[in-house]
Amino acid sequence: MSRSLFNDFLRHFALIVILMAVLSPLLWLLLTAFKPYEELFNNPPTILPESATLVNFTEGWEIGGGKGIMDSLIVSSISTVICLILGFPASYALARRFPPHGQLSFTILSLRMMPPIVPVIGFYLLFQELSLFDTYTGLIIVYTFMNLPLVIWLLAEFMRQIPKSYEEAARVDGASWFQLFRDVLLPLSLPGVLTAGILAMIFAWNEFLFSLVLTGDAVITLPKALASFFLFQQPNWGQLGAIGIVAFGPLLLLSYYMQRLLIRSFSIELGGR
């Protein structure tokens, strides 16, 4: 008994050591966010900031972090809402009328697999033609295109869990399509809607290549704003770290939820066959 307890202790120890090593670059960026400019290029570097400061947060916001966060919020939240509006009815139809691993599901999902570099050139040329280059509308269209397949597919998985008898009862009571969606299906599939919405939001929030290529000076999403800091030889790492924490730190709170979701989806997808 004590031997197995010792083994367990060793395993925890190994996991913690690996975890510290894995997360060290991120912890370093976190510490850097609190260092004043003079301290950034010390050799050897200081681990903890000698004179901790919050100036990087205020400056980082002013020199482009604020604009980046606003633009990213606009683009990713609007595209997420459109994805859900288009995806919700579509996923219902897909779940009820088509087989779970059929051709249509596969085709829709395979759009998601395409490397973004393939459609980006087509989008660039099309947007030049339609004057959508460097506009919110343009980027929203692209992010909707990028996320809609996944949203439909995920929502359809949730819709399949809803018993058909619920909607049949609603139909018998004379509910319209709209009422059926609003009063029956939406409340029942709310966890699915939230999940799909969060995922679409994260993917749009983190996306870089499309915004790099398809926008100029008018729309500057967060990843693009951060990348533009990097044009200088010695970027101000403190400001970069500060914006990074504010903009991407909150996402990490979803990590617990995400591992549950992923384990569950892969178990269902693969275990069910």
């Binding site: 367990d8 925890h12 190994a14 996991l15 690996i18 975890l19 894995v22 997360l23 060290s24 670059p25 991120l26 370093w28 960026l29 950034l40 050799n43 050897p44 570097p45 681990i47 288009l86 995806g87 579509a90 139809a93 009328r97 829709i108 697999m113 490397p115 570099i117 459609p119 980006v120 050139i121 087509g122 660039y124 040329l125 099309l126 033609e129 295109f145 439909i152 994260i202 929030w205 870089f208 290549l209 790099l212 967060l222 990843p223 951060l226 990348a227 990097f230 990074g244 991407f248 990490l252 990590s255 995400m258 591992q259 992923l262 384990i263 892969f266 178990s267 997808e269 693969l270 275990g271």
Partner: protein, 287 residues
Amino acid sequence: MILLAPALVFLTLMSIWPFGYLLYASFTSYQLAIPIPIEWVGFDNFTKLMSGARFWSSLGITAIFALVAVPLQILAGLGLAMLINSISRGREIYASLFLIPMMLAPIIVGFSWNLFLNPIYGPLNALLRSLGFQPPAWAQSPEWALPTLVAVDIWQWTPLVMIILLAGLRSIPARVFEAAKVDGSNRVQTFVNIILPMLAPYMVVAFVLRFIDSFKVFDIIYILTRGGPGTSTQNLAYYTYDVGFSRFQFGSAGALSIIQLVLLIIGTTVILSAVRRRSAASEGGSR
């Protein structure tokens, strides 16, 4: 049917319309910067690309990400998943913390590593120097730039493999292990005869997903090396970006995109059909 229509119309329109431009560009002399009339050039863009050394070297680098980085991710992910699955409590906490690298924007991943590996003021080299080593300049050195990028890719995507395999390990019922113990099977035998076969479908899914995604590697290259030194870390995606948006040669860039799409379709089909044949064979054998 009418419910599917808006989404399908949107998706179809947004795939076919830009794709039309892409196809058109790839068979013409489309260049944005030069105001010459656009000419139909047939397969010229493709043949020119394939006779250049840069195409083959970038293809090689994409292949390294797909065929070196991905198997290493599977190994590391398997190790981590087994370790996490073996502890008595706190599995979900470890799983959530190990998931962090893949939750982050690739751009932040790039920045963290760029700072961490900086040859002058980065902490890793400071540590190595203090231990008496003479560390290389990692992303800035010709020999180490590509291994560094591969390592960062492994760092970022091992968590996905880990989580898929954790789902797999959880699907193995406890009685299977008990039965193995009763039969007197030792740890290695249990691993080879029970765990690996039962994890196989999960490993295949992890491999296919990561294989497809390995064609997408771009952000970390952009932030860590800009494809350099020279062109030593340009994969197909970065090469396409460079041709299209630094030199505005959309004909060549379009052709490159189409080549990538074809490679990806061929690669995935080959893997999936191999898997199907295997599983069909093993099912036939067990009967």
